[in-house]
């Protein structure tokens, strides 16, 4: 539930930011939306994404992001799948400025935690720092909608002897965001 509260707080911050968008320079942008993520042959983990590009630093090319995904909004919804949450901070570089189809590379870092619920499983690792590069393609429509699909690789996945077993290395994700500042 703490994660839900954090998500809600992020959304509130985004809305407030939208309300005060006049204070931002024209070139800075903020995109807010949903992230759908699936590990290869494993769980769906869905959540939210926030992407920011500042006019002073490679505007519309460099995007700094915050993402929260959880199996609670995916495979564990109404099932016995393990509840697991991931918080990511990212830096993404989008090529082909001004084009609608834009390849990008992204580097994520963050924190993963799985909830095994019972004390008997306390001997198992259930959390990890995340480092994951992504490569993908973004599509920017004429409306402030932006869609990005990518393939990523978790460098710190579990291997049965260390690391959480439900942290898989290869994942695919799709993010659909709406530009709420400087659309």
């Amino acid at each position: 539930m703490n994660h839900l509260k954090r998500c809600f707080a992020v959304l509130v911050v985004c809305l407030l930011a939208y309300q005060t968008s006049e204070s931002f320079a024209q070139e800075s942008t903020l995109d807010v939306g949903l992230r759908i993520q699936k590990s290869a042959s494993f769980y769906f983990e869905n959540g939210v994404s926030v992407l920011y590009s500042d006019k002073r630093f490679f505007t519309d090319s460099l995007f700094l992001g915050f993402h929260f995904v959880s199996s609670r909004f995916g495979s564990a919804l109404n099932s016995n799948a393990i509840n697991q949450d991931t918080i990511l901070f990212s830096a993404a570089w989008y090529w082909r400025k001004t084009k609608s189809i834009r390849p990008f590379g992204q580097l994520n870092t963050g924190y993963f935690r799985a909830d095994y619920e019972e004390a008997v499983f306390d001997v198992l690792p259930n959390s990890a720092l995340i480092i994951s590069p992504e490569l993908g393609i973004g599509y920017e429509s004429k409306i402030p909608l932006k869609i990005a699909v990518s393939v990523g690789y978790n460098l710190t996945s579990g291997n049965g002897e260390s690391g959480p077993g439900t942290l898989y290395p290869i994942f695919m994700q799709m993010t659909a965001t709406w530009r709420v500042i400087n659309p």
């Binding site: 499983f121 198992l124 049965g160 002897e161 290869i170």
Partner: protein, 310 residues
Amino acid sequence: MTKLHYLFFLVLLLSACDSTPNISDEFVDGDIVFDASIAHPENYLQSIANPNPTEQDAAKPVFIAIHGYSASTFEWDEFRAFSSGRTDYFISQVLLGGHGMTYDDFKQASWKTWQGLIKAEYDRLLAAGYANINFVGSSTGGALLIELLASGYFDNKIAPRHVFLVDPIIIPSSKMLSIMPIVGPVLGYAVSDNTTAEDRYWYHFRPQETLRELLDVTVRVRKQLEDGITLPAGTTMKVYKSIKDPTADPVSAVLIYKGIKTSAGRTIDVEMVDSDLHVFTRLALRSGTDQGDVANQLRTFSDIVSRGLN
């Protein structure tokens, strides 16, 4: 890229797809070494050893022992040795379908083929009159047993009394298995890190087709667990899981615990074992085992028998 480059990569891809390993006669993969239960099933299967049990024998527990992917009946030989001299229960060591024979036999078998011989032995025992049947399954044997429970195989039959799972695999430790459908056709096969002695009982070469079957059955069972599985009335389950395991990720035990309930709605039993071995009950042919490993094995065998006799 020139046409020559394309041609080179096409030849490389096709040659990889057509790769056939160089199989030694010393391997179970070859044409000479076979699982011993094929030539002498009466030494392994209770239904063959005694198809006409007395009423007294028919009431005794039978433990059907199921080995894992690419293994053989050897995996449970130590349980039979542990039980030597016991007359109050029987052991039936099932060779999974497609296993214990040639590389090509293994390559062509699906997970349903693997599972088929478990059903065959169970049904033969029931037909012979055995009424107290239990399972002990290791690794993929555990996943295959869970699949039988989830798919309703025991509906309208005498259900197993107890199901014991040793290092069952739901989540593989090597997550590369998850991309086998993509990389498998290029790889052709994987090479195991067996010792020379183990090569007589475990496949040295693992065809990518079988690895994809392994992925299929583990994903299927994971989803069955996510949906929830209820054991037949009167059936219990206990999972014994190494806390470190290079083959079956220990988190597999969490998924089984969350996914299976008894008919009364209770949780199953789980014991996390202080071991870093996969199928820690098999110590034969391993190097570097210690007294702790032996103690784990004996304690688990004793617990299985004790629970099975109750």
